[in-house]
């Protein structure tokens, strides 16, 4: 069944018209017609089994029928990723949504090749991934910030899992053992790594938890997926209920 993120309120009998883009997608691409059912979520009202109530030339009315899931929100996990080439950054955003990150923050580092970043496009990728993966919210994409500033403002109550390829960091699971849930962040560097000055700065941040991801050199997207998976498995919602 199609699963769609919408911005409108979801409640019983609260019919609403979707955007023209979504109307095009539902009626022309997916060829839904009146009476067909789909799942809707908006990040606030849970997930609703809904039906197509009316189809017009460039419009489509949807009607929520019954709530299938109460609203829930994942753990408070940020992924901070240095700006990398567009294709890899888009992969990282897709995977962050699947792996339950609540926010993706983009970091400008010394070795960043700052291509222009299209936050709107990244948000669309995050939205589509959220629809597919079954979550009830969409990760927020935060526009690029300077790494130095992020670290200078780092909140002491948010541990920072720093994937440190250059150093003597502890193996990831050992470094996470005995830690607790709560606000966390995972930090992935650019291809080519952080500069020595940046590494020292990050390690000096309150709450920095340097971890190693093994002996091989990893692409930024590989490192991001691996680190998020390890965090979820060790501390997050992959531990089971």
């Amino acid at each position: 069944m199609i699963r769609l993120y919408v911005s409108q309120e979801l409640a019983e009998d609260a019919q609403f018209a979707v955007s023209p883009e979504q109307a095009h997608y539902l009626t022309n691409v997916m060829r839904l017609s009146v009476g067909d059912e789909l799942l809707l979520f908006n990040g606030r009202d849970g997930e609703w089994r809904s039906r197509v109530a009316q189809v017009g030339k460039r419009a489509c009315l949807l009607e929520p029928l019954i709530r299938t899931q109460a609203q829930a929100i994942g753990l408070d996990l940020d992924l901070i990723v240095a700006l990398v080439k567009r294709a890899r950054l888009e992969t990282i955003v897709e995977k962050a949504a699947e792996l339950g990150a609540r926010r993706v923050r983009l970091a400008i580092t010394e070795r960043t090749n700052a291509e222009r970043t299209n936050v709107e496009r990244l948000t669309a990728i995050a939205t589509e991934a959220a629809e597919q993966t079954g979550r009830l919210d969409v990760p927020e994409i935060v526009p690029p910030e300077k790494l130095d500033r992020m670290i200078a403002d780092w909140p002491a109550d948010r541990p920072l899992m720093f994937c440190d390829e250059a150093g003597d960091a502890a193996p990831a699971l050992a470094a996470l053992a005995g830690r607790t849930q709560g606000p966390w962040a995972v930090l992935i560097g650019p291809e080519g790594g952080f500069s020595p000055r940046e590494r020292a700065l990050i390690r000096s941040a309150a709450g920095a938890v340097p971890v190693s991801l093994g002996p091989r050199i990893l692409r930024a997207d590989t490192a991001a997926i691996a680190a998020l998976a390890l965090w979820q498995a060790a501390l997050g919602d992959w531990r089971g209920t």
Copy 2:
């Protein structure tokens, strides 16, 4: 420094001509000339700092200078992945190389959309990823086999980490706790999952270790990367020395 996989013997003073494709890459694309250095490995003789000894019109002679790493081979880890769409399969092969799999076996399942598989191209992707990630061997790409046959022939001494999204499997780290190194395999299903019959068959295999990768639906590439990372962190060479 450029790092290149070659098939020739690597030994002191053992000059050799690379293939025309590699000669083109080294001299035209990377613009190396006589005296420039690069790293070579062949999966047998370790890694060698080497130099360009001669450049001809369509040829290039290389000369190993000194061995920089003794030959080592990663752990005996197979990734078995259902045939998925080409772009995702290529991503999976690249990541399997970075994450230290020794072999990638391609499985034909009930829900496989069997596009034609280009094993030669996948091997080229694995080779390039091995060059970049710093390993001393290239993962073998095994041509597609029927899943049923693989499971029927399953060796009892190779535990099978079965990423089972449909069921009641234990959380991955709990399922791997207390297990030991040795031959292992990780099995990832097609998008859409294994059929109920296939799930029962896999679970009946000697050594099957069903694991859960959390509450969200994962794309096949995400699941493969996450599972390999968890295996390396729990049992493999990410545990540190």
